[in-house]
């Protein structure tokens, strides 16, 4: 379909600001497939009802899915319950997965995050909730050698976050891990709404720049 597809390494090294450019879009999808070729194949099979492929998808995604759910919910048994709900939704929605947008891993993360935050916010509506400061959470155990890739991903992500300024990191964590809205973050920190928006936006841009550099 395209004249030639550049090698994955060359593409990732030159990862630009991924803004929309007509005709450049095909390269965006190519980049995503470079990142997770197995997931892209698995999701297609899952969309066709392949349960073996789903098990493979589970194995590849569960540390990230469970990790984010656990981090948001804190409670381990709730985290397991919501993780199961997330994978059921992944199974159900696989035929609607739009390969033209975010990759499989991000899609799954967003489903997981949204469910976990919804659960937290609905509980918050019923009782006062202690706002936890962004405490350092001990990294959970990542298991044996076949988890080596996952460990690398996690270490890289942690290193990238360490490159943010404290206010940026704090704002991102309050939003992502604590499920606060930008209004609630502003209240919690006692700063202006505009300040919160700027910290989050600048923090994401910085994170994107840092994550785009491959060793």
């Amino acid at each position: 379909m395209y004249a030639t597809a550049p090698a994955c390494g060359a593409l990732l090294g030159a990862l630009p600001d991924l803004r929309w450019r007509p005709r450049a879009r095909p390269w965006v999808w190519h980049i995503r497939r470079c990142l997770d070729p197995d997931l892209e194949t698995s999701i297609t099979r899952v969309a066709a009802g392949d349960q073996t492929a789903f098990a493979s998808l589970y194995d590849q995604l569960v540390p990230t899915v469970f990790g984010v759910v656990r981090r948001v919910l804190r409670d381990p048994s709730q985290a397991e319950e919501v993780t199961q709900e997330v994978f059921v939704e992944i199974w159900r929605q696989a035929p609607r997965f739009d390969g033209g947008r975010a990759g499989v891993r991000t899609w799954a993360v967003m489903i997981a995050h949204r469910r976990a935050v919804d659960r937290v916010r609905s509980e918050q509506a019923h009782r006062d909730r202690h706002l936890r400061t962004a405490a350092v959470v001990e990294p959970g155990q990542i298991g044996p050698d076949d988890m080596a890739v996952e460990l690398e991903d996690r270490e890289r992500a942690l290193a990238a976050m360490a490159e943010l300024s404290s206010p940026q990191r704090q704002a991102l964590e309050l939003a992502f891990y604590d499920g606060l809205t930008h209004v609630q973050i502003a209240e919690h920190l006692g700063v202006a709404l505009g300040t919160v928006k700027t910290r989050i936006r600048d923090g994401l841009i910085r994170l994107r720049a840092v994550m785009g550099v491959h060793p």
Binding site: M1, L18, R19, W20, P22, R25, P26, V28, H30, R33, E40, T41, T44, R45, A47, D50, Q51, A55, V62, P63, T64, F66, V68, R70, A79, E80, T83, Q84, R92, P95, R96, D98, G99, G100, G103, T106, V109, M110, H113, V137, G140, Q141, I142, E150, R154, A157, A160, M161, L172, A175, F176, L180, T181, V183, V196, K197, R201, L204, L207, R208
Partner: protein, 285 residues
């Protein structure tokens, strides 16, 4: 409460006043980390539905936000796996997004004979057995898209194709030229022994067009037929012959190609066929 209301008004006002892409980008960043309320998020989704150019950017922001998830990765108890796998066995899947304005799909039973038109509900038909992404096993279809090519077609994972949210207004008398010239048009080349054909789709107009240049006519009074391949059963889209100058222009309004779809052109007898019978002379794979 009041602060929330003010914030919501600010969001809506920002979009409506057309304070520009900066305002939308700010909202997109907030949405990517889940910092918008449900209401604000719906507002943003609605704004993005008419801005396909920002959709890819939003996806990029979500990719970046996912970094925070990777940083928290943790292996769950092993017992969870069995529970999840057992649970999904009893759960049916959503159907893939359906297209509008096309002839009804003709379902095929396992013997390859057409059965009455069926709408998809529940899991996809068992014509796609485990291990095959698309199973095309009926003898007469083997000629044109077999195993590996079919897998490649679907596993190409929607290169360059996009399904967007429902549109607001129909276009009166949309022209092929408008689709082709629209700013974010995506072009899919069809290649094979028949050259010069392209499928173009326009998110802006939510329409597809088949265009061709210097396309040789089929033999005798045979016709070409364009098919959408989005599963085990191809969907007929257009029957056509190039005009005297070798040009082809066919419009499919109110339709966008679903993710993972491929296109193929076969030669068919006059009036076309419900299912491909002739050789494939061009395809997008």
């Amino acid at each position: 409460m009041n602060d929330d209301d003010e914030a919501v008004t600010g969001v809506t006002a920002g979009i409506q006043d057309g304070q520009g892409d900066d305002a939308l980008r700010e909202l997109m960043a907030l949405a990517a980390v889940g910092a918008l309320s449900e209401h604000e998020r719906s507002e943003l989704d609605r704004a993005l539905a008419s801005r396909p150019d920002l959709v890819a950017e939003f996806a990029g922001l979500q990719d970046t936000a996912a970094t925070l998830a990777h940083a928290a990765a943790e292996v769950p108890p092993a017992a969870l796996r069995a529970g999840v796998l057992a649970t999904i066995r009893g759960v049916s899947q959503e159907t893939a997004p359906m297209m509008s304005a096309t002839p009804s799909e003709v379902a095929v039973d396992e013997a390859g004979a057409p059965s009455s038109p069926a709408t998809h509900s529940g899991p996809l038909p068992s014509a796609a057995p485990t291990g095959d992404v698309v199973s095309i096993t009926s003898g007469r279809r083997r000629r044109w898209l077999t195993g590996a090519a079919a897998v490649a077609a679907v596993a190409a994972a929607a290169v360059g194709v996009l399904v967007i949210a429902p549109f607001d207004d129909g276009e009166d008398d949309l022209q092929v030229s408008q689709v082709v010239e629209s700013e974010n048009a995506v072009v899919i080349e069809l290649s094979g022994e028949l050259s010069g054909l392209q499928v173009v789709h326009s998110p802006e107009h939510r329409a597809m067009a088949l265009v061709g240049d210097d396309v040789p006519p089929p033999d005798g009074d045979m016709v070409y037929e364009l098919w959408l391949i989005d599963g085990p059963t191809p969907t007929p889209l257009h029957i056509f012959r190039p005009d005297g100058e070798g040009d082809v222009e066919m419009l499919t309004p109110e339709m966008m190609p679903p993710p993972g779809a491929a296109f193929a052109v076969t030669v068919e007898p006059p009036g076309g066929s419900d299912q491909p019978t002739g050789d494939v002379v061009a395809s997008s794979v």
